[in-house]
Structure formats: structure tokens, C-alpha cells
């Protein structure tokens, strides 16, 4: 039996092997009672090579500088949500390292991103990390001002500046596009449109989720002790679950998760929940699965106790009960939502800074940004999105909670303790990884062909940008 399995694996081409003896993600989803839509029921894996990823990109400050001069100037970045700037005149300041933009709603359906600097002597027109509403953008230094449409309004002591022609002193802009309630910006005037950047297939997935109908229920940020790419890559595979999150493994199809790539900028995994990890077959019961299932948003669950009847599966029990409980907790209609969307972890990267989890039980967005002063640190944010209530009254987005470097995610008010502990496990790893890469005698990172395809995909796209001249 073992010999046969070995021979069979050896016959496969690189990247074709899947977890032996386990149902595929598609097999699990196909057995669900409420069927999943096409964007769930499809695969898009591609073998992209098996060479090591050179480690300098994580360690070299010159590489970080090159990223800021090339990739961050040419890619679409998630700057804020539309709900951060609901009314005309509202603005939200988005920073990426030393870059800073005032994201402003200038008309009901028009948002602009102004470079956040006075055209006189350069003072930031609005402090970083702030929001507000403006009738004009007036510099706090000498009082030069701009209309919210970016046109120059006034030069203090205009008589002294005959060389300042107002028509040439409009605020420079980055490009802005929105999708699913997210405001994306791009500093490159020649970049493709956001829809082309995301690609037809992946955009259809995003459109299907209707994330514009969600609101930010909880927003937590923390600086992590690693290069920004290591932080992202820690979340791009379920391969680490068995060792990093042993408490979750009994109820997570980790080794049989599905991995997909879409064009250059989007990739995903589907990691089924409510099923036993292939690592633990024969060691845990269906009731164990149910008991150990950890939810990202378990505040919605109340104190309900679940049991698996003889011959039933934990996954079926959870799908049946979650629907009603999440409907009640969030005051929304989930009757047409598939079991998979209710239960499973869908994780998408939109290169370079955006991580989307559109599922119902893990309704999250991550954002990753390099630290402007230290290539060995990065800023990590977790945003929990909930459906806007049926009565249509959209709550204000939650204010960000900024954790100190030494704080646990469990200390953020509103964070589910079980999920906060998972994030602590993930983010403790990356500090050790940064230091280990610096200490290592080995020149690069070795990746699995299937389970770590998103890491390779991400780094190959990064190479395409960093290799280009600014």
C-alpha cells in the first residue's frame, strides 16, 4: 500500500501532489447541504517553480528602499473604506511609509487622493492617522489653502508670490478606484485600471461578496517585529496550523486546503472548517471537532451548545445552526448563503497590502504596511466586518485600537479571546523568523509546491515590480 502510494506520487508532475488519503476541499464542499456558488466551486492552481526564495529581500534595507521607490509607487493599495468618508468633504489620511495621502470625498460618487503636503514649504496639510471633514484644506503653518476639489484657493500675502499661478498650484493626486466599499489608490498614472489589475475572474469573486454592505465592527492594529512580507506570508497558507495552532487543528482541514492563483495580483486559499485535520485522522471524533471549533466572531454565538447525532457530521450540524445564530446576531438574511461561505476560511491576497476574508464566520480584512523607519518591522491591521443590519442604519466604523508592541491581541476590547490567541501565535512566529533568517547559514526560503504557492506567487509578483525602474 505504501509502495503503491509512493510510486503514484513519484509519477506526478511537480505541483500535482495533494494530501494523500484525505478528501479535497471541493469534495468536502460538494457534500454540503446548501450548495456553494461558482467562485467557491472552482480551482486555479498553477505550478510556479520550486527554487528557493532569496532571503535578502527580507533583510536588506536597500531592498526595502527599492520597494518604496518601485512597487509601492506602482501598485493598487487599500487606503480606507468608503464608510470612513461617508459625506462630501470627509477625509481620511492614509500613510504608506513616508508617503501620505488625504483621501477625500469631493462629490457623492467621487473620491480623490491628494498628496498630503502643502505646495508652499511642504507641511502636511493634515496629520497622519486622522480623519475629519473639511470645507477647505488650510495649512497650519502659513495658511495657504485648497478647495476640497484640490484647486488652489488662497496664498497668504499673494502680493509676495507673483510667481505662484493658482492654476498650476492644484494639489497633486494619486489615482483612486473603489471596489466592494474599499478605496484603493495608486501613485502610478500609467497603472492598469483596478479591475484589470485584479483580473476578470478574481473581480467576479469580490463583486459576489458585496463587501460594500459590511461595516467595520472592530479594528485593531499592531506593529510586528518582522519585514512586512514575512507578516503577509504567515497568513497565506494553512500548512502552519498543525504546529502553530494545535488547538484549532482538530476542526480545520489544513493539509487538504485548496490554493489558487489568479493573474499576477490575486491568490487565495479555501480552508474548510468543521472537519478533522488529515494530521489527526483517527484521533478525534466528530463531537471533538464541534467542541474545538474556534470562531473569529464567536460573540455572535451566545451560549448555545451543539451536539453531533449518531452518524452525523460536525460540519453539517454547524452549518445548520450557524445560519440562524448569525442571522439573529447580525440582524441579516443569510438564507441563501452556502454552508461553505458560512463555515470556511476564504483568504485572498490583493497584492501588495490587502488580505480579504469574505466568509461569514471569519469576516475579516488584514492590511500590511512596511514601517517607515525600520525594514525589520511592519504595521499589521485586523478589521472585522459585519453585515450592515437589515434596517439599513449603518453604524460608524470602529475606531482603530492601537496595541503596543508587547501587548496580546486578546487585550483589544471586543476581540474574541480564542481568536486573539491565534493571532498571537501567528505574530510570535514572525519575529523568530526574521531573526532566524538573519542568523541562518542558508541563503533562501524553501517552499512547498502546493501549500505554499501563494508565497511564491506573491514573491514572483514582487520581483516584477522591484525589478522595474521607478
Amino acid at each position: 500500500m505504501n509502495d503503491q502510494a509512493t510510486i503514484k506520487l513519484a509519477d506526478l508532475k511537480k505541483g500535482e501532489a495533494r494530501c494523500p488519503g484525505a478528501p479535497s476541499t471541493q469534495d468536502i464542499i460538494a457534500a454540503d447541504k446548501v450548495g456553494a456558488p461558482g467562485w467557491v466551486r472552482s480551482e486555479s492552481y498553477q505550478f510556479l517553480g520550486d527554487e528557493d526564495i532569496p532571503k535578502e529581500r527580507y533583510l536588506d534595507p536597500a531592498f526595502a528602499k527599492l520597494e518604496l521607490d518601485t512597487l509601492w509607487k506602482k501598485t493598487w493599495q487599500f487606503a480606507c473604506r468608503e464608510e470612513h468618508i461617508p459625506n462630501v468633504g470627509d477625509y481620511h489620511v492614509y500613510d504608506l511609509a513616508h508617503y501620505s495621502f488625504i483621501i477625500t470625498r469631493v462629490a457623492e460618487n467621487e473620491i480623490r487622493a491628494y498628496y498630503n503636503a502643502c505646495l508652499h514649504r511642504g507641511t502636511k496639510l493634515r496629520a497622519s492617522g486622522t480623519e475629519g471633514s473639511a470645507e477647505e484644506f488650510k495649512c497650519s503653518f502659513h495658511g495657504w489653502s485648497w478647495n476640497i476639489d484640490g484647486t488652489h484657493q488662497s496664498t497668504t500675502c499673494h502680493w509676495d508670490f507673483p510667481h505662484v499661478k493658482p492654476e498650476k498650484f492644484s494639489l497633486p493626486q494619486a489615482r483612486v478606484e473603489t471596489i466592494g466599499g474599499f478605496v484603493f489608490i495608486n501613485m502610478d498614472p500609467k497603472a492598469p485600471a483596478l479591475a484589470d489589475y485584479i483580473g476578470l475572474e478574481a473581480k467576479a469573486h469580490l463583486d459576489a461578496w458585496k463587501l460594500q454592505d459590511r461595516y467595520i465592527y472592530l479594528h485593531v492594529s499592531k506593529r510586528l517585529p518582522c519585514n512586512w512580507k514575512l507578516a503577509i506570508e504567515a497568513f497565506q497558507e494553512a500548512y502552519h496550523v498543525i504546529e502553530t495552532h494545535p488547538q484549532v487543528a482538530p476542526s480545520n482541514g489544513d493539509a487538504n486546503s485548496q490554493y489558487d492563483v489568479y493573474g499576477e495580483h490575486v491568490d487565495r486559499f479555501i480552508s474548510t472548517l468543521g472537519v478533522v485535520s488529515p494530521h489527526l485522522y483517527g484521533k478525534v471524533s466528530e463531537q471533538d471537532v464541534l467542541n474545538q471549533f474556534v470562531l473569529g466572531d464567536s460573540s455572535a454565538m451566545g451560549d448555545t451548545k451543539l451536539t453531533v447525532k449518531e452518524g452525523g457530521t460536525a460540519r453539517a450540524v454547524m452549518a445548520g445552526m450557524f445560519r440562524g445564530m448569525f442571522e439573529k446576531a447580525t440582524n441579516t438574511d443569510l438564507s441563501k448563503v452556502s454552508d461553505s461561505e458560512l463555515l470556511d476560511c476564504f483568504s485572498y491576497t490583493v497584492f501588495p497590502n490587502t488580505f480579504l476574508f469574505p466568509g461569514i464566520s471569519l469576516p475579516m480584512v488584514y492590511r500590511f504596511r512596511p514601517d517607515k523607519n525600520d525594514h525589520r518591522k511592519c504595521l499589521y491591521e485586523v478589521l472585522f466586518l459585519r453585515p450592515v443590519p437589515i434596517d439599513g442604519k449603518r453604524p460608524m466604523p470602529a475606531e482603530p485600537i492601537h496595541l503596543r508592541d508587547d501587548q496580546s491581541f486578546t487585550e483589544a476590547a471586543g476581540m474574541d479571546p480564542g481568536f486573539g490567541a491565534i493571532l498571537d501565535q501567528d505574530t510570535d512566529n514572525v519575529g523568530l523568523q526574521q531573526e532566524g533568517l538573519e542568523a541562518s547559514a542558508k541563503g533562501g526560503l524553501t517552499l512547498g509546491n502546493y501549500q505554499e504557492i501563494r508565497v511564491r506567487h506573491f514573491e514572483q509578483t514582487l520581483d516584477k515590480y522591484v525589478g522595474r525602474k521607478a
Binding site: R126, A127, S133, A134, K138, S140, M396, E399
Partner: protein, 118 residues
Amino acid sequence: MNTQGHSATSDCYTRVLKLSELAPGTKKVVEVGGKCVLVCNVNERLYAISNVCSHNEKPLERGRVGNGWIACPAHGARFDLATGAALNLPAKNPIATYPVQVVDDWIEVLVERAAAAS
């Protein structure tokens, strides 16, 4: 409706507005004892703060109110509605905040000088 409950006696408070005159999500300027006070009804809570920005003495009344803060429309300084603390540059100094309560459907604000004058 939660208010900033302080234990001062009711007769030191000044009636400024009917509660019905301040819809949820809105704010109004009132004069109390010579002070310009901004009363805000946000997220089911009432706040009374000085209407004058500590940075440049511009009025805050047209500023945006967020979850627990108000932003000065002139230069973007933000203040904590409950404590008055400045949250970001260009302001560093706090603004005054005043106890507020609801009695018989009236919004009442406690401003020290107003109490002394009455």
C-alpha cells in the same frame, strides 16, 4: 440616553435645549454664561464641549464628529468628546468639556461661571 453623569446639584445646570431639538447625530451651539458651548448627540450619548479649538481658536461647530471625537474643520485637530484631550496635531492642549444631563426632556449643561452668575 447616557449622559456624562456628574454629581453636581441640578440647580447649577443651565437648560439649553429641548432634547427633541437635538436629533441623534447632530450638534448645536449654545451660549451659557458667556461661553460658547457645543452640545453633541452622538452614538446615543450627549456631550458638551467648548466650541473653540485650542490650536487656532477657530469654531468647532462645523467639524465632523466621529466615534468619540470631533475634528476641527480648519486644520484637522481632533479632540476627545468626553475628556477634551487633543488627539493629534496641530493641537496639543485640551478643550473644556462640561457636564451635561437631561431633566424633564431638557438638556442641561453645567458651566461654572453660569452657576455663579445665577
